[in-house]
């Protein structure tokens, strides 16, 4: 066998390695006077088979005085042995600390199910999250 023979033909795209590609998407949740004031952004990783391997982040942002502020976000832990989804809630506009929690968060399933669940949770409850955040921040709904 020719030891100088190129091995490139043995390294087909994706074979022998798991490509872990990252995907990012965003869409508006509401409009006011033609402008988006609430948006959902999500990013995740998929392997070469299309399987979701990590929920990098699912965020709910609101527009406050021209700046986008993340008030709720989900991410999954980075431990491959025991991965699970958790939620972070920002305390207030004046206080960027957050309260990470597992309460009310889907625990069973896999990253694909968690991703869908987190997106739906924000789509269904963003108005409640926003109302509570604005109340703690002493802001009105029209910011």
């Amino acid at each position: 066998m020719n030891k100088y023979k190129s091995k490139s033909r043995y390294r087909k795209r994706g074979v022998g390695t798991k490509r872990n590609r990252k995907f990012i998407n965003s869409f508006p949740l509401s409009f006011e006077s033609g402008l988006t004031t609430d948006r959902l952004t999500y990013s995740y990783r998929r392997d070469q088979t299309g399987k979701v391997t990590e929920v990098t982040t699912v965020t709910y942002d609101i527009l406050v005085e021209g700046d986008w502020i993340t008030i709720v976000y989900y991410d999954s832990t980075h431990d491959p042995k025991e991965s699970y989804l958790h939620k972070h809630i920002r305390v207030a506009l004046q206080n960027p600390s957050d309260t990470p929690t597992l309460e009310g968060v889907k625990r069973r399933g896999n990253p694909s199910i968690w991703l869908t669940w987190a997106i739906n949770d924000i789509k269904n409850n963003f108005q409640i999250y926003k109302k509570n955040f604005l109340k703690r921040s002493n802001l009105t709904d029209k910011v």
Binding site: V91, Q94, D98, P100, T101, R136, S137
Partner: protein, 85 residues
Amino acid sequence: MSKKQQIQKNIELSSKLADYLVSNPNIDNKLTGPASYVVFSSTDNNLNTLNTKLITSLLNEGKKVVKAEETTSKKMPWRLTFINP
């Protein structure tokens, strides 16, 4: 207490902590920068077990973590402990 009631109570617990932090802004003065306040319930041991693991994950991510334990005291409803990495 049913599971649904427990979940609802726990959701209120995070909000209760956030309200407390907003009412006491001097708490963050001891820390440099924002931190993650992890809630520990006075009644729900299951939640506490899960949140103990959550603290480990957050520390591994390099975040500043504060353990917030619910108390029965009205003067000090929360006991806050800064967790060293």
